[in-house]
Structure formats: C-alpha cells, structure tokens
Amino acid sequence: MAESPPLREPVLDAKSEVTCQLIDFQWKLGMAVSSDQCRSLKYPYVAVMLKVADHSGQVNSKSIKMTIPQFQNFYRQFKEIAAVIETV
C-alpha cells in the first residue's frame, strides 16, 4: 500500500500526536554583531538547547534560536500554561 505523505494535523487533534518529554533545557543569551551581509547587526537572541526523549527512550537534542520579542512571547505563553494547568 502506497503511503501518502503525512499531513500536518492541527494541534488540537490529540490522538495523532507523538509527544516527547523534555529532559533538559539549557539556554544562552547571545548577540550577533556582524556578518558578511550586514556589518552592523546588533542582534540579541536567545538560544535554547532542548534535550528530549521520545517514548522509546531515545534522546535527541534540538537547538532553537529566537529573537527577544519571540522569547518574551514564549515566556508569556508558558506563564499562561502554568496558570491554566493549576486550575484544571
């Protein structure tokens, strides 16, 4: 049977998601100063290193960068999650 490429399921569809556990979370705050395209970058960013384990126990690391506004949104969302999870 030919496999069709998996469609991206909407997030709210619980049953089809394969979730991982976050084992470790490392972060750094950096500043990109200059590049060959732009001599004056002056770009602060947050880089996070996520160590995750899937259900089989296999551990993977993912590094993700974000801008300061993106990080602040990320933080704000987590505070919301904390508020909601407490009330459930």
Partner: protein
C-alpha cells in the same frame, strides 16, 4: 515638474526591486525586468551603471544599518561626489530607507541565522490523560508544539508533554533568561 515626479516613482520602484532581490530573496528580479518596467526609454548601457550605483548605495545603507543622521550625512556626501546622485534622488532614497528599514533589517537578520529559528508555538492543557508510559492518570498535562526551521527550509515540529511540575521547572528556567535579558538591556 511632471518629469521629476515620474523620476521619483521610477526610482522608488527600482529601490523596491533591488531590496526584494538583495535582501528579501526574490529571485526573479533581473536587470532586464527593472529596465523594461521602470526605465524603458533609457539605453541599456546607461541603465546598467545607474542600477549598480543605486544597488551599491542601498547595500551600504543597509549594511551599516544607518540611523537618520548617518543617512543624511551619507546621502549628502553622495550628492557632492563626481558621478554621484542628485538631491532629488537622495530624497527618494531617504524616504525609501525610512519606510523599509525595519523590514530590510529583519531580512538581513534572517539571512544571518543559519540554525533553527523559532517559528511558532501552540499549546493546550488536557485535563485527563492516560498514557501507558505514565503510572498516573487524571493528571493535567500540557501539550506544547514548537514549530521551527532553518532559513529557507520547511518547518520541523516538536511536540512536548509537560506535567505541572515540569511546567514550573521550565518556567523557572525561563525566568532566569528574562533576568539575563533585563541585565543586558540595562547595561546597554
């Protein structure tokens, strides 16, 4: 007067085209296209150096991320140069940079990001969960989906499960980052 206005519109269009090509990664904007669309009456051997000059000026402004004082000084110097630009042209370039600076800067930043950048975050909290990997049922669980990817590549997704304890631990880590950012901003 009408001729000058026309010149301003064409130059504005040219700068847009150059920005699309040089910064926003739009591949289809060729010299021929810009020439034909904006300066059809100008002979190609005149258009080519003109285009190169404008491209050079725009790249210099973007590379230095000029503020408005720097821009004024730079453009004034260009008007005084041999084979430089006219005052009208300087005015058009100035107006263009002022309205496009943020977008161009963002594109330049994206070009310098070679690793995964965060693209999206969605989440929900499940009231009850049952998992054959967890001894507990009826524990609230947060499902967080991160969307990220490298510049120009398709998104990857990571779906993480957090119980209340994990949420609090993560929140503590995030507050450390926030503190660090605040110190950085204060020091700047």
């Amino acid at each position: 007067m009408a001729g000058e206005l026309e010149g301003a519109k064409s130059l504005s269009g040219l700068l847009s085209g150059l920005a699309q090509s040089a910064f926003h990664g739009h591949a289809g904007i060729t010299e021929e296209l810009l020439h034909g669309q904006l300066y059809p009456e100008v002979p190609p051997e005149e258009f080519r150096p003109f285009l190169a000059k404008m491209r050079g000026i725009l790249k210099s402004i973007a590379s230095a991320d000029m503020d408005f004082n720097q821009l004024e000084a730079f453009l004034t110097a260009q008007t005084k140069k041999q084979g430089g630009i006219t005052c009208d042209q300087a005015a058009v370039i100035s107006k263009f940079w002022k309205s496009h600076k943020t977008r161009i800067r963002e594109s330049l930043l994206n070009q310098s990001r070679w690793d995964n950048g965060l693209r999206g975050l969605s989440w929900r909290v499940d009231g009850k969960s049952q998992s054959r990997h967890s001894a507990q049922i009826d524990t609230p669980v947060a499902i967080v989906e991160l969307e990220f990817g490298k510049s120009g590549q398709e998104s990857e997704f990571l779906c993480l499960e957090f119980d209340e304890v994990k949420v609090k631990q993560t929140l503590k880590r995030l507050s450390e980052v926030e503190e660090s950012i605040n110190s950085l901003m204060q020091a700047a």
